[in-house]
């Protein structure tokens, strides 16, 4: 039979032509090295420009100088003197904001009245710029670590709430009906169905909240901080020391990427059940 088919194909009484290909595309493929190359090329262009002079020293610092500044910072031990307090502030502030945010978000997700009361409040708090409130925060929480924690906590609170109640709303209702149909208690349903089901949404909200926390570090350290990456950047900015400014910004940027990678890791660990 395959013979017949073949001869049919080779002796076309009627024309046999292959089916035209028209698929493919619209499916991104990873090319890891490209991202790396882009970074290297951008840095090289900046280096070349600043050396050759067609990028003025006022516009951009020499990347090599930034690196040198970073080296100094590391060798003098100042890097960790700045990084330590910043990380502590990030950790405490975000921990507080996220904990309260998740709790409030879950309550909003579970209780209609809490939702009706809290959602408009959160919506009204969301667009308030935290730096505008700096003078108040000093009065409310003092100039010590308290106001820094409070600022970061406040900044992470609102996005966490929004992400959390969205996640609770998105928990598959059939799973909840299933729990009820098997006579599970309300508390069991919340603990064993609603919370794990809301985890993916909460974690992806965490990604945003922590990015915001890092951004707010600078604002927080406007409040009488001597050490900290934000304070370092602010000081560099006020002295118009571009090398140090960029070194600080790079540190924050790396911090952001690291935090995001960490959450990715947690997601892969905790959410391995997702398809």
């Amino acid at each position: 039979m395959s013979d017949a088919t073949l001869s049919g194909a080779t002796a076309p009484a009627t024309a046999a032509k292959p089916v035209a290909f028209r698929g493919g595309g619209f499916a991104p493929r990873p090319h890891r090295w490209v991202g790396f190359v882009v970074f290297v090329v951008l840095i090289l262009i900046a280096e070349w420009g600043t050396r050759a002079g067609w990028i003025s020293a006022l516009t951009l610092p020499k990347p090599s100088d930034v690196l040198a500044t970073f080296g100094e910072l590391y060798q003098s031990g100042m890097l960790f003197k700045h990084l330590g307090p910043s990380l502590a502030r990030l950790f405490v502030g975000a921990l507080f904001g996220v904990t309260v945010g998740v709790s409030v978000g879950v309550l909003i997700g579970l209780f209609s009245y809490v939702r009706a009361g809290a959602v408009p409040l959160v919506a009204a708090l969301f667009p308030i710029p935290k730096i505008a409130l700096l003078p108040l925060f000093v009065i409310w929480f003092g100039i010590g670590e308290g106001s820094k924690y409070a600022l970061i906590a406040f900044g992470t609170f609102t996005p966490t709430v929004v992400a959390t109640y969205g996640a609770v709303d998105n928990v598959d209702r059939t799973l909840i009906r299933m729990g009820q149909s098997f006579g599970l208690s309300w508390w069991s349903i919340v603990r064993k169905i609603v919370l794990p089901g809301a985890m993916p949404g909460i974690l992806s909200g965490l990604r945003i909240s922590l990015a915001i926390a890092i951004i707010l570090l600078v604002a927080a350290e406007m409040l009488g901080a001597e050490y900290g990456i934000g304070a370092y950047i602010l000081q560099a900015g006020s002295l118009y020391d571009l090398e140090r400014l960029f070194a600080g910004v790079v540190i924050l940027s790396v911090l952001g990427v690291v935090v995001s990678a960490l959450i990715g890791l947690i997601e892969r660990r905790v959410l391995g059940w997702r398809t």
Partner: protein
């Protein structure tokens, strides 16, 4: 334990979805409910299981559930309703935990129901690793674990491809043959209805009312694929419902 439905009517936001449904579900039998889309089958099943309250009428359970019954009215859902973050075992133990069954006793029950549904090798698998047919088997095992008096099944096979559906029908029949259970079985599929039902309740279009109750006396384990008697019944049912099904299908959905 029997279930009695007594003059059930209901409407959602002023739209009547069912009208004066009176029905007995005798112990040890499978009652199939068929009817066009949107006629209120799923709603009726939610009423029976106590997940929702009908606007009018009464649903009562007559007699006591059997010994050792943890959850008299137990559902099997169309989309399986397995917790994706728990293994097969974990999904079953979920419904035992709340009844205080843990440790050895739980392991024993889980082992038993997994064996009955031929899932012993899959105890540690996550739902995402299972095909649809296997998932529904897990859901059945979970339902068996609480030793229900009545199983409430809402189109349990309609998310499966038709070959898997055949396989699962065989499984259900053999489960019932070994130990008869009471079930209310909602389906669109007339073939399933004639294969599994002792009684087939035909509902009209929305608002659903009982149009006819067809009884099939042939024992379950003698019902074969392509059995002429059953084909006859199925043809009869289809002829009863065809026009209504077409009308229901052509309705615009007001979203």
């Amino acid at each position: 334990m029997d279930i009695r439905l007594d003059g059930i009517s209901h409407s959602y936001d002023g739209v009547a979805v069912m009208n004066d449904i009176t029905l007995d579900i005798p112990a040890g039998r499978i009652v199939c409910i068929v009817g066009p889309s949107g006629c209120g089958k799923s709603t009726l099943l939610r009423f029976i299981g106590g997940l929702e309250r009908p606007g009018q009428g009464r649903i009562s359970q007559i007699g006591e559930p059997p010994e050792g019954c943890l959850n008299p009215l137990t559902y099997i859902f169309q989309d399986f309703a397995l917790l994706p973050w728990r293994t097969v075992e974990g999904n079953i133990s979920l419904v035992l935990e709340d009844h205080g069954i843990k440790g050895a006793r739980a392991r024993e029950i889980i082992g038993d129901v997994l064996a009955r549904t031929k899932l012993t090798d899959f105890a540690k698998a996550l739902p995402k690793q299972l095909s649809g047919g296997m998932k529904q088997r897990v859901a059945i095992a979970r339902a068996l674990a609480v030793n229900p008096a009545v199983m409430l099944m809402d189109e349990p096979l309609s998310a499966l491809d038709s070959q898997t559906r055949e396989l699962l029908m065989d499984d259900l029949i053999s489960l019932w043959s070994r130990q008869p259970f009471t079930a209310v079985y909602v389906t669109h599929n007339l073939n399933e209805a004639v294969r599994l039902g002792h009684q087939i309740v035909v509902l009209s279009r929305r608002p659903g009312r009982i149009q006819e109750v067809v009884t099939i006396d042939k024992p379950l384990d003698q019902r074969q694929f392509g059995d002429p008697d059953l084909d006859e019944k199925q043809k009869y049912l289809w002829q009863l419902m065809r026009d209504e099904a077409r009308a229901a299908d052509a309705e615009l959905i007001n979203v």
